[in-house]
């Protein structure tokens, strides 16, 4: 039985494992190591995964889901999902418990189900490559993923039939892969510019103990945004030539987006890109319209300067919260495909005053670390030269709503996990027999300016004067960064616990059902039974 580390990415995923003390990366069916995070559905219930699904982004954009990581664990009405909707060619609507659900050709799918399908496929790739069964995994997430995003990632793993040993922060995984801090003390910045997210994390590493000092970033900034910037350039050129804006035509837009991604890669290695894109759109008399273009790297750099600037600003903010100066960082690690863009490297070098480390493949380094941690957890790291201890922190402050529209903080940002804190609250009205405890994540004093996570209600309180009833609220964050909330009625001495109803999450029974369905599908290798 093998355990794997999975970097479940916005654009690509990577699977790795430790074999005989060495990290090995599971190849895809086309001799590469990146597994595109794409799942496509056909009306007869068949599914296409990853490399086999990529082409279907153009052939069948409505039924081909990509960038699911941008949606996972977020309520349908959240700003992030609404922003993503504008750009995504497939259809989403609001399902049970405020979830965003994908409207597939046969039925609707929740986002953890989509990611679960992909994870199941990745598991099968690993099983074939290793000739061994895989039933447990460490899955990585961006350090600034919130509680519901982490939970949803665990749900996706469960749906794929995986025991999720740990949800590991991507930057911590990267630092682990570099094997830094062996017999020395270092301060490291991990600059992770991936397909869909950006984050920066400061770690203190000392004799195999990795402590996250601070972390921050932007869950909605990534290589996709660079592609979009290039798409705009291409679309403007096309519009100038043909008088048609390809952004209004879903198929044309998809084709240009794929071209934009290729142009971006080319511009990382060459000062200019030329091309001739055929059949982008159809003209008024049915003729195919092409685009011949010539883009200099400098034009691209002007278009993305603002985006890269946002990452440097995030570095500044994170260093400030760790009370450090850029010059106090001993090593900068580059993670994520977007760090191949020369301007990104140059700006990072300028800011930190030292060339960043790029010796490990920025696309694979996170999966490496995840594989090492999986080995550490499942097999007590026996085959590894050293056993790292990863000390993670809470990515955001956690609190609850109190009267007057305020948020009362219970756990601070950047405190080491596991952590447990209790605060005592009271009722706000005479004869109030129930309290509503709304949980939020964020640093603002105003509740509405934070991210709501969910709520629980404590009922059957003793009727008494306002303020006479005390309610103990306990927050516990485990080593996965997942929050558990307990509310206790202090006045009657009775202990009552309630589970948080997490907004935008699948229920336990929904997850189990989905896992069963997937197990059936894998066992029979057939399209799943249509629902009645």
């Amino acid at each position: 039985m093998a355990v794997v580390g999975i970097d479940l990415g916005t654009t690509n995923s990577v699977v790795a494992t430790v074999r005989d003390g060495q990290v090995v990366v599971v190849p895809n069916s086309q001799e590469g190591y990146l597994h595109p995070s794409v799942v496509s559905f056909s009306p007869d219930g068949l599914k296409y995964f990853s490399v086999d699904a990529v082409a279907r982004r153009i052939l069948d954009p409505k039924n081909t889901v990509y960038s699911a990581k941008r949606l996972i664990g977020l309520p349908f009405r959240s700003d992030e999902v609404q922003k993503a909707l504008v750009r995504l060619p497939y259809e989403l609507r609001e399902g049970n418990n405020e979830q965003a659900v994908f409207i597939g050709p046969d039925r609707t799918y929740t986002i953890p189900e989509i990611s679960g399908l992909l994870l199941g496929y990745l598991r099968q790739c690993a099983e074939m490559f290793l000739s061994d069964s895989v039933n447990a995994a460490v899955i990585t997430v961006p350090a600034n993923f919130n509680d519901s995003q982490r939970r949803a990632t665990v749900d996706a793993g469960r749906i794929a039939g995986l025991d999720v040993l740990r949800v590991l922060n991507e930057p911590t995984a990267a630092a682990l892969a570099y094997g830094l801090g062996q017999n020395m003390s270092q301060r490291i910045a991990v600059y992770d510019f991936g397909g869909g997210t950006f984050d920066v994390t400061i770690l203190q590493v000392e004799n195999d103990v990795f402590e996250v000092l601070a972390t921050g970033g932007d869950t909605f900034l990534g290589g996709d945004d660079l592609d979009s910037a290039l798409l705009s350039i291409l679309a403007d050129l096309f519009n100038a030539e043909h008088g048609i804006d390809p952004r209004n035509d879903q198929a044309a837009r998809s084709r240009l987006l794929i071209a934009a991604e290729q142009v971006k890669r080319h511009l990382s290695d060459f000062p200019e890109a030329r091309g001739d894109l055929k059949n982008i759109a159809v003209g008024s008399s049915g003729e195919p319209l092409a685009l011949r273009f010539h883009i200099a790297r400098t034009v691209f750099e002007t278009a993305i300067r603002g985006l890269v600037g946002r990452t440097i600003q995030a570095c500044q903010d994170v260093l400030a919260s760790a009370q450090l100066a850029a010059s106090q960082i001993d090593e900068v690690i580059m993670v994520g495909g977007t760090t191949r863009v020369p301007m990104v490297r140059a700006e990072v070098e300028k800011y930190f005053g030292r060339p960043p480390r790029t010796d490990l493949n920025p696309d694979e380094v996170v999966a490496w670390g995840a594989a090492i941690q999986a080995e550490n957890l499942a097999n007590a790291g026996e085959s590894l030269p050293s056993r790292a201890v990863l000390l993670d922190v809470t990515p955001r402050a956690l609190g609850i709503a109190v009267t007057g529209g305020f948020a009362e903080r219970i756990i601070d940002r950047n405190v080491p996990v596991p952590v447990e804190q209790t605060r005592i609250f009271s009722t706000s009205a005479d004869n109030q027999t129930s309290v509503r405890i709304q949980v939020c994540q964020g640093e603002s004093r105003r509740f509405e300016e934070n991210v709501p996570l969910g709520e629980l209600e404590l009922a059957d309180l003793q009727a008494a004067r306002r303020g006479a009833v005390s309610i103990e609220v306990t927050f516990k964050v485990d080593t996965n960064g997942i929050l558990r909330v307990r509310a206790r009625d202090g006045a009657t001495g009775a202990v009552r616990e309630a589970a948080v109803n997490v907004r935008g999450a699948m229920s336990d029974s929904e997850v189990e059902e989905a896992a069963e369905r997937q197990k059936y599908r894998e066992a029979s290798n057939l399209p799943e039974v249509p629902q009645e």
Partner: protein, 185 residues
């Protein structure tokens, strides 16, 4: 670092856990009270290397594992407090008052939200309260009736709708409909 055997770990937990609340952060981390940040950090790293839950992922004894996690969480708390100057100053004051742990003890002046605050219409609020009382008595039929009335006064309230469907679900359950409403006092 030598690392702990499982017997050593069990002995350690049995010794520390029962008196966790009597130990100061200095006791827990094993450092003298005047120690500077670097000393505290080194001590914390050494403890983390032995006690971190990841080190004991495969531990079968659930109770031992849970107690260990609580000890480790307190160690983390101690590290956090002793390395943040403002928190450490507050902790020194708490220690002088005989407290071993830095907690926010003063009861918060603000109360928790009353669920019914979201209901605007006074009649809707009145029936909502009646419905909640019925729910508390497991009088599902009465609850459905009251929440239905509340809804006629304020159809837009999500809370009323939610409670109504809760009551309806309870009423629909086997045994739910048969349960006679308790006698009114």
């Amino acid at each position: 670092m030598a690392g702990m055997s499982s017997e050593q770990l069990a002995a350690f937990v049995r010794q520390i856990f029962p008196r966790l609340d009597q130990l100061s952060y200095y006791d827990l981390l094993g450092v003298p009270s005047g120690s500077d940040q670097a000393v505290v950090r080194t001590a914390f790293y050494r403890l983390a290397a032995d006690l971190h839950p990841d080190r004991h992922h495969t531990l079968a004894d659930r109770e031992l594992k849970e107690q260990l996690e609580m000890i480790y969480a307190r160690v983390c708390e101690g590290y956090q407090v002793l390395t943040k100057p403002d928190k450490r100053a507050a902790y020194e004051r708490a220690l002088n008052q005989g407290k071993k742990r830095l907690t926010t003890t003063d009861r918060d002046s603000r109360g928790l939200q009353n669920p019914e605050d979201s209901i605007k219409h006074p009649e809707a609020k009145k029936f909502f309260r009646l419905g909640m009382i019925s729910l508390g008595r497991k009088d599902w039929k009465g609850a459905v009736m009251s929440f239905s009335f509340a809804r006629t006064y304020e159809p837009s309230s999500a809370l009323v709708a939610q409670k109504l469907s809760e009551a309806q679900a309870a009423l629909g359950k086997p045994g739910g409909a048969g349960g006679a409403p308790p006698k009114t006092p």
